[in-house]
């Protein structure tokens, strides 16, 4: 892919309007829902045709999902809730 891009650049003499660096800068913004609609659209268009950025996107999206869905939450001990209630309860503070 990279050599193809280099080849196109060579024969057209043009640099790509939206380079991979811009794309990867915005990757986390897109993943975290912080990108503007324009940034989001540009990013999605870019990864349609750039396999390197698409691969990065897939990996980072999977890592985010791993954290979100695989890590288990612990149950809160009932003693903690009782203890807080006792300390804040009527006439305690």
């Amino acid at each position: 892919m990279k050599s193809l891009i280099a080849f196109f650049q060579k024969i057209t003499g043009k640099k790509k309007a939206y380079c991979c660096n811009d794309c990867l800068c915005n990757l986390y913004m897109v993943l975290d829902g912080e990108a503007s609609p324009e940034q989001q659209e540009k990013f999605m268009k870019h990864i349609d045709t750039c396999s390197h950025c698409f691969e990065c996107y897939k990996v980072d999206r999977s890592v985010k999902e791993l954290i979100k869905y695989k890590i288990q939450n612990m149950e809160v001990p009932s003693s903690l809730i009782e203890s807080i209630k006792n300390k804040i309860g009527p006439g305690k503070c």
Partner: protein, 171 residues
């Protein structure tokens, strides 16, 4: 009791100790109760409580040096602030290599990170806070949120890659 589950889990992931997590959460609710007037109406109450908990943790636990290997932030941020966010994101970790990982293995990778990097991943990916909320919780500029998150994710991927290797996946 509202929000106690995420708070307790945050406290446990900071301290790795059930008793310390218990004390930290209790203190957070007592402080919130005492200083309820300082809560800005209309802002995220969960973020406000997380900020109180984080500050209690820094004041009470980090000073007692229970946490080994603190990150030297001045040094880290001089490397990773602003411009350095542009450093390339590596993609040499294959999705196949870790999609079958178990929750415990993912938790181990997260827990192996220094506390500041662990915290930003917890706030962003587990709890879904916005960059602006994280900036408030951690008392750092949004640019630093981004650079810290960037660095934390690179380190997390390194840890996941190590786990993937031990599971026999080839890169």
């Amino acid at each position: 009791m509202p929000l106690i589950k995420p708070l307790y889990n945050f406290a446990f992931r900071l301290t790795f100790d059930e008793d310390d997590a218990h004390d930290l959460v209790q203190e957070t609710y007592l402080k919130a109760y005492r200083f309820i007037d300082s809560y800005e109406k209309g802002t995220n109450a969960k973020a406000w409580l997380f900020r109180i908990l984080k500050n209690s943790f820094i004041n009470d636990y980090r000073k007692s040096s229970k946490q080994p290997g603190m990150v030297d932030y001045q040094e880290v941020e001089s490397y990773y602030n602003s411009d350095e966010v542009d450093e390339p994101i590596t993609s040499d970790l294959r999705v196949d290599a870790f999609k079958d990982m178990l929750g415990d293995e993912v938790a181990n990778a997260l827990n192996a990170l220094d506390v500041d990097f662990r915290t930003i991943i917890i706030l962003c990916d587990l709890e879904g806070f916005t960059y602006e909320e994280m900036a408030k919780i951690l008392d750092i500029p949004i640019g630093t949120v981004r650079s810290r998150l960037h660095r934390a994710r690179q380190l997390l991927k390194d840890k996941l890659r190590e786990y993937a290797k031990t599971m026999g996946f080839k890169e």
